[in-house]
């Protein structure tokens, strides 16, 4: 079980995340939703051990991950929000580097990297420097890097960002298949319909605090809305999105 206990992160005197607790059982996909600046990325960074919580802890298999981060990270696959890759490396070189640092065997690394590159339509570009890659191609490289060592825990921060429709469909199906194989999946996203489709449970966060933690159906039912989008808006938005859009148009069309 992957578990967060009262996770809190304070920058200076500003709390970014406060008392966030959840658990993910094998085969479950936990969706993590919130507006910009709500503390999603900070939570993700604590979950993968990039940041140490100010209070609270992340536990995996009953142990605080900070006690043996290297062992935890052997079982972790992480897709970061921004694909900041090394532009001078080719896609294949990047995967070779990740596989080597993961201590994968030479044969396994070469076979898996080649196969996954082909499956995600990057086979023809594997020896091209990533400075020439589109955002979607870089995102697919990050996905392959996260998946190729067959991790037990997957932390995905906006994994569909920049992907074309076909690749996005592949990834959505992939998440469902991986959850059926008993993986622990933490899925952080802005795309509500994807969260609705792939996640078994959902957390809505705002200003660092959890507003809801339940299944998607339960969240909808609790808020009394028929769609997740309406429920999300009701939970986190103070402003009327329709009214803001209307005001923007009014500013645009105002005389010069």
């Amino acid at each position: 079980m992957l578990e967060a206990r009262q996770l809190t992160k304070v920058y200076g005197s500003v709390p970014a995340v406060q008392d966030v607790s959840f658990q993910i059982d094998p085969g479950r996909v936990l969706g993590y939703l919130g507006p910009n600046g709500s503390g999603k990325s900070t939570t993700v960074k604590m979950l993968v051990g990039l940041l140490q919580p100010t209070h609270g802890e992340v536990r995996f298999g009953g142990r605080n991950i900070q006690h043996d981060l290297v062992a935890y990270r052997r079982r972790l696959g992480y897709v970061p929000e921004e694909p900041h890759l090394y532009p001078h490396l080719t896609g294949w070189e990047y995967l070779e580097m990740v596989g080597t640092l993961r201590a994968m065997s030479e044969t396994s690394l070469a076979t898996k990297a080649d196969q996954l590159l082909d499956l995600l339509a990057l086979g023809a570009y594997k020896h091209v420097q990533m400075s020439a890659y589109s955002k979607g191609m870089r995102q697919r490289i990050l996905l392959i890097a996260a998946l190729m060592d067959n991790p037990d825990v997957l932390v995905l921060d906006e994994p569909l960002s920049g992907l074309d429709v076909t690749s996005a469909m592949v990834v959505k199906n992939l998440i469902q298949i991986l959850s059926s194989k008993g993986k622990f999946i933490f899925y952080c996203s802005h795309v509500l319909e994807v969260v609705e489709k792939v996640c078994s449970q959902l957390i809505v966060i705002r200003q660092g605090r959890m507003l809801a933690y339940a299944t998607v159906d339960e969240v909808r039912r609790q808020i009394g809305q028929s769609t997740l989008e309406q429920a999300f808006v009701q939970l986190v938005e103070d402003n009327d999105a329709g009214q803001i859009a209307s005001d923007i148009v009014n500013v645009m069309v105002a005389p010069r």
């Binding site: 051990g49 990039l50 972790l76 532009p87 001078h88 020896h127």
Partner: protein, 303 residues
């Protein structure tokens, strides 16, 4: 697309030592710009960078054939000369050249010396310890410092002794000149690298990342101005050193390049002059202290 193809089968070879792979990564990223994807840092690659670093020393060494070539000296009617005394101005110029080029090259790669946000995103979630990342980056920095210092001075290390003492027919003299010159200019280059490295680390240790980056622009400007001033004054400083004025010597003794001139005199067996002995001591002390300060500053900045 073909412009971006990597360099063939070697690029796809698997390297199964994680530490070596990290080291390779850090060395290569220092040559390929430290910027994030999508920015316009000048990316010359290793080959072009090495050639650019080596060229000034090569040109200056070739120009010295006219001054020290035995045939030209014969045709001019010049008699025998003491190579260790006659070459002091040129030795000083090579020291300054080594410090200036190494320093400017290090400033150019300033943003790539330390691990940045990209390394944080790509490496820290992998099953490797922070200690390994730290040591690999430090080893890469040491490798780059050595490479810069050797490449910048490679031509003068080989050509300068040949030009000056090659025709004197004495192997001991040649070896003394060669080793003294080589050790001095390489040490000067290493010190220039370490000074810039220490400055980077101190800025990162003292200020938050964003502020230190802004301050670094100003700091880099002043370091470049200082290095260019060293080059601009390099032809006149040796003359001032020997004008017999103690006050002038004391003022010029503050320049790191003068310390290394003292070191070269010592290594050439001409360390009887107390001023140059003192300068040599300063050079050695700086060579010991600066890397230690740089490593502590780096450690503080890394944390």
């Amino acid at each position: 697309m073909n412009d971006h193809l990597s360099s063939g089968p070697a690029a796809t070879a698997l390297s199964q030592n994680p530490f070596r792979r990290l080291l390779t990564l850090f060395v290569s990223r220092m040559f390929h710009g430290g910027s994030e994807l999508g920015t316009d840092d000048l990316d010359l690659g290793i080959g072009i960078t090495v050639i650019l670093l080596a060229l000034p020393g090569l040109f200056v060494s070739l120009l010295l054939f006219e001054k020290y070539g035995s045939l030209i000296r014969f045709l001019r009617g010049d008699g025998a000369f003491d190579p260790f005394e006659a070459t002091i101005p040129d030795e000083y110029f090579f020291i300054v050249l080594s410090m200036a080029i190494t320093g400017i090259a290090t400033l150019w790669k300033w943003t790539a010396i330390f691990p940045d946000r990209r390394d944080f995103t790509n490496l820290v979630h992998l099953p490797i310890s922070l200690r390994d990342i730290f040591i690999a980056n430090l080893a890469a920095i040491a490798a780059i410092a050595s490479l810069y210092a050797i490449v910048v001075n490679a031509a003068s290390i080989v050509l300068f002794p040949i030009v000056v003492v090659g025709s004197q027919g004495s192997l001991p003299v040649f070896m003394r000149f060669f080793l003294g010159h080589a050790l001095t200019v390489i040490a000067a280059g290493v010190l220039a690298f370490c000074l810039v490295f220490a400055l980077t680390g101190i800025l990162l240790a003292l200020f938050p990342y964003g502020i230190s980056r802004r301050i670094s622009t100003v700091a880099r400007f002043f370091v470049i101005v200082f290095l260019l001033a060293l080059v601009a004054s390099s032809l006149s400083v040796p003359g001032f050193l020997f004008d017999g004025m103690v006050r002038t010597q004391r003022v010029l003794g503050a320049l790191p390049s003068v310390w290394f001139l003292g070191l070269s005199q010592k290594l050439w067996g001409r360390g009887a002059d107390p001023f140059f002995s003192h300068m040599a001591f300063r050079a050695v002390a700086a060579l010991v202290a600066t890397p230690v300060i740089a490593i502590f500053a780096y450690l503080a900045g890394f944390r």
